[in-house]
Amino acid sequence: MSDQRQKEKIFAASDCLSEEVIMNYLHDRLSGRERHAVEKHLLDCPLCEEAIEGYALMQDNKELKVVAEVTGEKERRNVYFYHRWLAAAMVTAVLFCGGLYFINQELHDKQPEIASHPGPGHSKEKKEASSSVPATAEGPVAVKSEKETMNPTGGGQEEVKGFYDPSADEGTHTAPAAAREDHRSDVPLSKPGTVMPERQTEQEAFGEVTKNRQEEHATLSPASPVYQETKKEEVEVQGYSGVEKKSRNDSRQRTSGSGKMKARVEETSRQGIDADGLQDASSTDVSRQDAMEDALRLYSEGKYAEASAIYEKMLSSKNEVSDGELFYYAGDCHYRLKNYKNAIASWEKVVQGMKYFEEARWKKAEALISDGRKNEAKKLLEEIAAQDGKYKQEAENKLKELR
């Protein structure tokens, strides 16, 4: 690595940590690399370092949005929005009632005409009904225009509020909040329009149209139970095919030797064990990563036995593509639990070319010493000292100690 790059790596200044990153760090939701980035920043930034200490002290450092808590903005904002939408709803309701009254009036005016000319009048009524369909759309349209006109003035008011107020709060907070409000307010606003009893009795054609619309909506909406059920099914099917695939692979291996029936019985029982135990830890990369993180956390908390159990589980799983890292940590847990033989066995599996090869070799030498196998340890240390690796110096020192 060039000096320039080393220099950048050690001394580059970075931006401060966001609240989200702080929370994720404290709640252990970051990968090793991300943790490193946070820790690196903390070394350079006393402000962030003290802040994170403060957050760590909060007994209930749940997901509370501390920023909103700090300024009390969120609540104020919600109340503000609530008033705005209430006003919009009221204006819409007034407009809608006005529209209904108007249509009503017109229909009453035309009633005698229809009675006197039943033939063509009938079709005319239908026409009326269908032509008034767009008029119902006035409801939502009116809402929209209301929103549009309300928003800019709202923004103006915010600005006047000045420094600590929403104006200081940037788009990231306000925009989603506004969007949520949008969504919420749409529902109650459109409902009164469709359920108005007057309308249903007086204009059945109308009612039917809205009913159809509601039905359509129900089938399309992701919130509808039908939609959710089909989704669930999909998930189940996917899960099932996964298991099936696995069992097929197994059966191919096993049927070659003994009788087919016997193999099948064995195979199903084996699968049973897999399903409740290890499948989660090894079936996907994501869960593997999770298991690794869990184990590492337990490890750092000094719970070596628990961590070791996870590593061993992962290693015993069929799907595990063993890499040096896993063997290394597994060995380390054994070492700390003073199971030197197991530790040595694990570290022996970290062969040259694997990640942590050098570390494992060095630690193996230590384990050999602890296990009383000094001659083997010496041999290994000599090997380490002969090569120009990370532990050359340490191996030489250790050899001197042993002599």
Binding site: K9, I10, G32, H36, V70, T71, G162, G171, S300
Partner: protein, 191 residues
Amino acid sequence: MSFSFKKQLSQLTDRELILEYRSSEEPGYAGELFRRYRHLVFGVCMKYLRNQEESRDAVMNIFEKLLEDLKKHEVENFKSWLHTVTRNHCLMFIRSSKKMTYASEETPDESMEFNYSLHLYEENATVRDLSRLDDCIKKLAETQKKCVELFYLEEKCYREISAMTTYSMNEVKSYIQNGKRNLKNCIDGKK
């Protein structure tokens, strides 16, 4: 405040915001600084006051003070200045309310560490000549050297380093801190 103005604000550096605020006295500029750092100020207040309500109040007070102070004083490094102001505010508050939740013996020690931290802020910007970095790394104590290398060059986190060495997390952290300080001293000495 228009959307484009807000967008503009978010692109300005701390220094630019301060300069704009000083010349225009438009609170929006200081507001942007507040938005950037309020969660950190809150965190620092929490560390000293250990009370959410008091910390929240402290954040508001600090930024109100900041509105005035930014007009009066030249602030070169906003982050470190804000840190100092926040700490002082909290210590004053503790003293005035005689609420020594923070053990009194710890305070002088803390402020010493703080001076050092301030020093760090400046040094980060001024350290340029690091061509002898390699030599300096070699001169570090073995423990520091190993941790510094694993942390900075191999980008491992404390937890991973602790797992790879036999040091505890706290040891790892202090080896890295001390190693880094020694590196700086070494490089500066050779300038």
